[in-house]
Each structure stands twice: as structure tokens, then as C-alpha cells.
């Protein structure tokens, strides 16, 4: 009785209930992230040791896909808006990635087949992100959007946290059984897909019947606030070092055993998943844009630490700031941009923004990677 009344209390200041749809999408992301991070953690091992690929061969494959996903993302966002079927497009993405896990088993030792399977997996990821985030914005109160994204990203990160641990434990108990990791990964992806199909509802309000075209999607950029968000996000994205580099620099400076570099991302993920909800709520109250920029200040702080500090304070400081950076920016940016885009173009708009950000980060990675390669630091 007491609890029931407590729940009845009017939602205020970002403490209201999170929409069932957001929780369902969070569960889907959690399961899917367990699945995909399991594979990511062991894929290089599998390709090079299990199949005898050369490490270089594998590295080249990876770069090409970023471009592919960028195109798929925009196309998927457009399709979802045109037919107003966000759940269908997201489901397609989740489904393709789930099947990809079985494809890894089937591809065997063929480099071509493996390349196709990995491209398929990336395509799935590119397809699903924008419609998923659009559904979150359409299912939540605009005033509590930061918190809704916080909850979703926290759940998502739990998956990213558990996946690698699960994969390494599996390989530990069943040495060299990469196939078992793929099968278990498929099971998680299939469950995620099932939860999406059963529990996620598409947003079916009657929307104004406007012609949704690619032109109207890009036309969003004519709106000044949205254009500003895109430009700032891309600009800051270009100044963002890839996670891999941060961990590499951290490892070099601390001279920790390389085996433990695998644990560094867990530090970031831990901070991210703890801070995502409080910072999302805070963003709703003090302004999302401020929190988004504060996140980049945190990242700048991490860079400063990398340049100047050493020892345990460096390790803890960098991982905490890096985790806070994610908690302040990833979901918050979507919460900033969502309300600026008309409902019927929501997916295209978010896809456009995410694509810009991904491309900016990729460009920065390539540039920094080249610098890293050619200078001995």
C-alpha cells in the first residue's frame, strides 16, 4: 500500500517512471551487447590463432566497415521514417547481427566469407541504433529524456561489461572452444531479438502525412539549432581519441602487464553504468547541452592526466573521467537532439547526427593511428 502510494506521486524533476518501452529496449540492448562484446573480445584471438589469419589482414578489414555502416545508418533511418516502422528496421538490425553469430561458425577458414559475415554484423549494428534511439525519444516525456537515455545506456553498458567476462570464462573452462563462445553469443542475441519482438511497441500515433524523403531528412540541417548540434558533435568527435588509444597510452605510461589492459575498459564501463542515470537526470534539470559539454571537459581532464600524472592516481583518474565522459555525452546528445527533430523525421535526424559523429571519430582514429604508427612515443 505504502509503495503503491509512493509510486503515485507525481513525476517531477526527472524522478518519474521510465516508460516500459525504454526498459524493454534497455533489456534488448543489454542482451545484444553481451552477445556482441563476447565476440569482439575473442575475435582477434580466433582469427589469428584459431584460423591462422595474419594480424595485418584482420586489421585492414576493420577500417573498411566504418564507411559501410555510415551509409547503412542513413538509409535505415530514412526507411524507418518513410514507413514509420522503427521497430521493424531495428528488429532487422538485431536479427542480422544474431544470424551473423552463426555465420561466424559457418564461415570457417575462408577470409572472404569471414569478411562478409563481419560486414553483415556491422550492417546490423548500423541499422538498429537510430531507430532504437528514436523509439526512446518518442516513448519518453521530453522533460525526462536525459534520464530515459541514462537508464537505457546503463543497461546497455551492463551487457558490455558482462560480455567479455563471460567469453573469457568460457574459453578458460573450455580451452580453444571458440565455437562454444559463438553459440552462446548467438543465444544472447536471439533472446534480445525475442524481447524486442514481444515487448517493444512501435510508436503508432497518427503523424501528419508529410512526404518523407531523403531531401527532407537532409533538410533538417537547415534548422539552426539542429545544425549547430551536428556541427559541435562532429567537431568534438574529431577531437576524441579512440578508446583503444587511451588504453594503449595508459598501458605505456603505467607499464602495467599487457594482460591487464583487457581489464581497463571494464573500469570505464563500470563508471559509465553507475553514472549514466544520475547524470541523465541532472541533464534534464540543469540543461543537457551543459552536461554534454561538461563531458568533454572530463575527457580533456583525462588527456591532461595522461600527459602529466603517473601511478595509481593516473589509472583511477583517467578511467573515472573517461567513464564520466561517456555518461555525460553518449545518451545525453540524443536527448539534446531528439526534441529538435519533428516526430516523423526522428529516426533520419538521429541517424544523420550519429553518422556524422561516427565519421568524425573514424577520421580522428585514422589520423591519430597514422601519427602513432609513424612516431615512436
Amino acid at each position: 500500500m505504502y509503495i503503491a502510494t509512493a509510486r503515485q506521486a507525481p513525476a517531477s524533476g526527472g524522478t518519474g517512471r521510465i516508460a516500459g518501452n525504454v526498459l524493454a529496449l534497455g533489456a534488448v540492448s543489454l542482451l545484444t551487447d553481451v552477445s556482441s562484446e563476447m565476440v569482439t573480445a575473442i575475435l582477434p584471438l580466433y582469427l589469428v590463432l584459431g584460423l591462422g589469419f595474419s594480424p595485418l589482414q584482420f586489421g585492414v578489414l576493420d577500417g573498411i566497415y566504418t564507411g559501410v555502416t555510415a551509409l547503412v545508418r542513413v538509409a535505415g533511418g530514412h526507411a524507418a521514417d518513410r514507413w514509420q516502422r522503427r521497430k521493424f528496421v531495428a528488429g532487422l538490425g538485431y536479427g542480422i547481427s544474431a544470424l551473423g553469430k552463426l555465420g561466424l561458425l559457418a564461415a570457417g577458414t575462408s577470409a572472404t566469407a569471414m569478411g562478409l559475415v563481419l560486414a553483415g554484423d556491422r550492417t546490423g549494428k548500423g541499422l538498429r541504433t537510430a531507430p532504437r534511439d528514436a523509439l526512446i525519444t518518442l516513448s519518453s516525456e521530453p522533460s525526462a529524456l536525459g534520464r530515459a537515455f541514462g537508464v537505457h545506456r546503463a543497461m546497455d553498458t551492463v551487457g558490455a561489461f558482462l560480455g567479455p567476462l563471460l567469453a573469457f570464462c568460457l574459453l578458460w573452462t573450455l580451452p580453444a572452444r571458440y565455437d562454444v563462445v559463438f553459440v552462446v553469443s548467438f543465444c544472447f542475441a536471439a533472446l534480445g531479438f525475442l524481447v524486442l519482438v514481444l515487448f517493444v511497441r512501435d510508436h503508432r500515433d497518427v503523424l501528419p502525412r508529410v512526404a518523407v524523403s531523403l531531401k527532407s531528412a537532409f533538410g533538417l540541417l537547415r534548422s539552426r539549432p539542429f545544425r549547430r548540434v551536428c556541427l559541435v558533435a562532429c567537431g568534438l568527435g574529431f577531437l576524441t581519441l579512440g578508446d583503444g588509444f587511451i588504453y594503449l597510452l595508459l598501458q605505456k605510461k603505467l607499464d602495467v602487464e599487457l594482460a591487464y589492459i583487457a581489464l581497463l575498459p571494464l573500469g570505464t564501463a563500470g563508471v559509465y553504468l553507475l553514472a549514466a542515470v544520475p547524470l541523465g537526470s541532472l541533464a534534464d534539470r540543469v540543461g543537457r547541452w551543459k552536461i554534454f559539454l561538461a563531458g568533454h571537459v572530463a575527457l580533456l581532464g583525462a588527456y591532461v592526466l595522461l600527459a602529466g600524472v603517473s601511478g595509481i592516481s593516473l589509472l583511477v583518474g583517467v578511467l573515472v573521467l573517461h567513464g564520466l565522459f561517456y555518461a555525460c555525452t553518449d545518451g545525453v546528445l540524443m536527448a539534446v537532439a531528439g526534441p529538435m527533430i519533428p516526430d516523423e523525421l526522428r529516426t533520419s535526424g538521429l541517424a544523420l547526427l550519429q553518422t556524422g559523429q561516427v565519421l568524425a571519430r573514424a577520421a580522428s582514429s585514422v589520423l591519430f593511428g597514422a601519427l602513432w604508427t609513424w612516431f615512436a612515443w
Partner: protein
């Protein structure tokens, strides 16, 4: 109702995955004989794929039943009456342990190493040891980054270079993407040959373990192995073609710098060993240990099935 469907799916998928994982791996039956595995002359020593343990057969008749020890290794090498075993570390994180053993496979020394086991080699008298591991830690956030760590350990002076990445290579700019692997020692226990990879290319290098310097000898050469007479180097060379193992084994005459492709056309992803000055042996995944003439003639023949990581006990 929806909850029930999810619960049913969890049970079904869980049961399916468990059944898959527990499905007995294909039983491999190999003929074995009782007796100790000793690193004595005239034995071909290898890792028995059925048990994952070090085993041996007589070099004169490799079809005889194998003797299997209790030492588990991913990679094993013997020379000079000593053995070097590179094994998986006992923990959930990828890691390795380099174990030095005596003639009777008794442990003499162990070194914990980052990364997963890949190559292990001793100099002819057993003094110098080298091993290579693959490190994939940062692959977490960035798939595709992969690096090797190659160590050199001098058992006499106990000088240990856990990673020879800092070696200065003449004429090659020292950069961050330099990877070394597959060391093979000359008889002076100082000179070595190895692979250097940088900027997408591989080089055969000749190094000096004391000076920590090296010079490139030629491009496109991986996993060198020096012949017993020290005059030739067997290596794998990348050749065009799709597939996971695009290599062809070659032998390079260090005096004339003439290279000869060997009769084995399957891609060998291994650091081969020399059985004598005329024959090399190597492992092929799933096909056991094979041997082929080092002069490019003849045809490859299988020595031992269900086995990998061959080496010969001579001393």
C-alpha cells in the same frame, strides 16, 4: 504470456548451448606406449594433439606408438638436452607461462608472460631461449589491433629481455607499429634471425642479442629457422591468394642470398624445424607433423598424425 515465451526461450537456448558445449569433441585415438618421455638423442619430440601433452617417438621410425608425458604445452622445443614449454596461463585472462625443463621434463625455471602462446625456440646448446606471444588486450575497444611480444632469455647470464621491441634496426625508423616474432639462434648464442613487421611489410632481420641491434636482410619473410650448419634459413613467404594461410615455405642460402621454394604447397603457418641439414619438419593444423626436403625437391610426407610443434632431441 509474453513472459512465459521468454522463459521458455531461455530454457531452450540454455539447454541447446549446454548440449553443444558438452558434446564430446571428436575422440582422437592414437597408439601410445608406456615409458618416460626424455629429451635424449634420436627422439622426435612434439605436442600430442589428443592430450595436449609433450610426447615423443623414435626419429628412425616415427610411425611407432608415442610416449606421452604429463607436461601440458601449447608449444614445445628441445635442444641441447633441455626443453622450453610455452603453456597457457591458468587463469581466465589470456596469458602464458614459459617453463624450462630438464632432460626428464622436470621443471627448472618458469616465467610468466603476457599474451597467448605462439612460438618457442632454444639455441642449439639450450642456453638461449626465445618465445613469442600474441597480445590482444586492447582489441576490446578496437578490434583489429594485434601485436606480438617476443622475449629473449639467456640462461647463463640470466639476462631477460621481456620484449625485444626496443631493438634498433639499421635503416628502419623506430616506430610504434614494429612487431618482432619467430627468433632462431646461431651457434654463437648471440646472433639471431627473426621476423620484423612494420608498416604492413615483413622483413627477415639478423640481430645481436647483446647489442640489442639488428639489420634487415630481405623483405617478405616470416618465422625463420636456421639450419644446423648455420648456412641456410627456412622461412615462410607471403604469396598471393585468398585463404587464411597465404604462405609458401622457402629456404634462403645466406651466402648467395638465393631462395628456393619447397615442394610443400600448402600454407605453413609455423616456425619449421630442421631434422638434419637436408630436411625440415612442421605442423599443419589438423594434419599432424610433416617433413619435406630442404632443397625444393621430393614430396612432403607425414611423420606423425594428431601432433604439432615438432623438434628433435640431438644432444
Amino acid at each position: 504470456m509474453r513472459i512465459l515465451i521468454v522463459v521458455a526461450a531461455v530454457i531452450a537456448l540454455g539447454a541447446g548451448a549446454t548440449a553443444y558445449a558438452l558434446r564430446a569433441p571428436q575422440e582422437v585415438s592414437v597408439a601410445t606406449e608406456a615409458g618416460p618421455v626424455e629429451l635424449t638423442s634420436g627422439r622426435l619430440v612434439f605436442v600430442d594433439e589428443a592430450s595436449g601433452k609433450v610426447a615423443s617417438v623414435p626419429l628412425s621410425d616415427t610411425s611407432r606408438p608415442r610416449r606421452v608425458s604429463s607436461l601440458s604445452c601449447k608449444r614445445f622445443y628441445t635442444a641441447g638436452g633441455q626443453g622450453l614449454c610455452l603453456a597457457d596461463a591458468s587463469g581466465p585472462l589470456p596469458g602464458s607461462t614459459a617453463v624450462f625443463v630438464d632432460r626428464g621434463l622436470g621443471e627448472r625455471r618458469r616465467v610468466e608472460v603476457a599474451g597467448v602462446p605462439n612460438r618457442a625456440k632454444l639455441s642449439a646448446d639450450g642456453r638461449m631461449a626465445s618465445w613469442t606471444t600474441f597480445v590482444t588486450g586492447d582489441s576490446y575497444a578496437q578490434a583489429g589491433t594485434f601485436s606480438t611480444r617476443t622475449a629473449i632469455f639467456d640462461q647463463q647470464t640470466e639476462v631477460y629481455a621481456s620484449n625485444i621491441e626496443g631493438t634498433a634496426v639499421a635503416g628502419v625508423k623506430t616506430v610504434n607499429d614494429m612487431n618482432f616474432w619467430g627468433v632462431t639462434f646461431a651457434s654463437d648464442d648471440r646472433t639471431y634471425y627473426a621476423t620484423l613487421s612494420t608498416a604492413g611489410k615483413t622483413y627477415l632481420i639478423q640481430g645481436d642479442a647483446v647489442d640489442e641491434s639488428a639489420k634487415p636482410l630481405r623483405e617478405n619473410a616470416e618465422c625463420p629457422s636456421l639450419s644446423p650448419d648455420g648456412k641456410r634459413v627456412a622461412f615462410k613467404k607471403r604469396v598471393p591468394g585468398d585463404g587464411a594461410r597465404p604462405w609458401r615455405q622457402h629456404v634462403l642460402d645466406l651466402t648467395t642470398m638465393v631462395e628456393t621454394p619447397l615442394a610443400e604447397t600448402r600454407g605453413i603457418d609455423d616456425q619449421v624445424v630442421w631434422l638434419d641439414n637436408d630436411t625440415i619438419a612442421y605442423g599443419l593444423p589438423g594434419e599432424g607433423i610433416w617433413a619435406v626436403q630442404a632443397n625444393g625437391e621430393g614430396a612432403p610426407r607425414q611423420l606423425v598424425p594428431h601432433a604439432s610443434s615438432p623438434s628433435v632431441a640431438l644432444g
